[in-house]
């Protein structure tokens, strides 16, 4: 993996102007239209301060490397949750493993008990 997935990048693939709003949307998972509307409203109300911030971000932040564009929306969502809170994302992964463990235990119980049942049925046939 060449680049860190938890860094902020300009999203040049989904950009309207310089890719800052698309980058924020990609980073946080908030809908890009909401961010753009908020930005435009902020520019109108805040006498251009957000515009300055936009420029500074566009100047400072690196472009998103091509290999970090996730084709899978599930993967994208997962990394957004990691960026929001790595600890909670880790706990989510643990919860998934526990769920798998529980389901596997169910199947195991069924398989072993049905083997017992089969053995008993064979016993009865003798």
């Amino acid at each position: 993996m060449a680049g860190l997935r938890t860094k902020f990048y300009l999203d040049k693939q989904n950009r309207k102007w310089l890719g800052v709003c698309a980058g924020i949307a990609d980073y946080t998972g908030v809908d890009v239209t909401v961010i753009r509307i908020g930005f435009v409203l902020g520019t109108l109300l805040g006498q251009g301060t957000p515009l300055l911030a936009y420029w500074i971000i566009a100047w400072l932040a690196p472009k998103k490397p091509g290999e970090l564009y996730d084709a899978d929306p599930d993967q994208k969502k997962f990394w957004q949750s990691v960026r929001a809170s790595p600890r909670r994302a880790g706990r989510d992964v643990r919860a998934r493993f526990r769920d798998i463990d529980r389901r596997l235990a169910d199947v195991e119980t069924y398989v072993t008990s049905s083997n017992n049942r089969l053995a008993r049925e064979i016993e009865q046939l003798r």
Binding site: M1, L4, R5, T6, D74, Q75, F78, V82, P86, R87, A89, G90, V93, R96, F97, D99, I100, R103, L104, D106, V107, T109, Y110, V111, T112, S113, S114, N116, R117, R120, E121
Partner: protein
């Protein structure tokens, strides 16, 4: 607007622009930096674990489908194996024999 008023205004603007603003920015930068961050290794580990969980999830679903096809009532048996195991299948067999008028067991 002359004299001390202009000076106060200039001092106010300069104060806000060159002290207040950087202070605010650096306050949030330090706050953001002090938050728990993860390294590239952590990231790779997390990526791998997430992928592993997803694959295991899919395999588990496949196995559950297979078991479900084998015996639709398997969850009850897994929950209470001793009570339900024997009667369950035999009843199903009798039922099948009665409705089709031929032995349900395959030869």
């Amino acid at each position: 607007m002359h004299g001390p008023e202009v000076i106060f205004l200039v001092i106010g603007i300069v104060g806000v622009l060159f002290i207040g603003l950087p202070w605010l920015i650096f306050h949030y930068v330090t706050k953001w930096k002090s938050q728990a961050t993860i390294t590239t290794e952590d990231e790779n580990l997390l990526d791998e674990l997430h992928d592993l969980a997803r694959r295991l999830d899919e395999r588990m679903s496949t196995i559950e489908r297979i078991v479900q096809a084998d015996n639709p009532n398997w969850r009850a048996i897994a929950g209470d194996p001793v009570e339900t195991a024997l009667e369950d299948r035999s009843e199903r067999l009798y039922e099948a024999e009665r409705t089709t008028n031929r032995p349900a067991r395959r030869t």
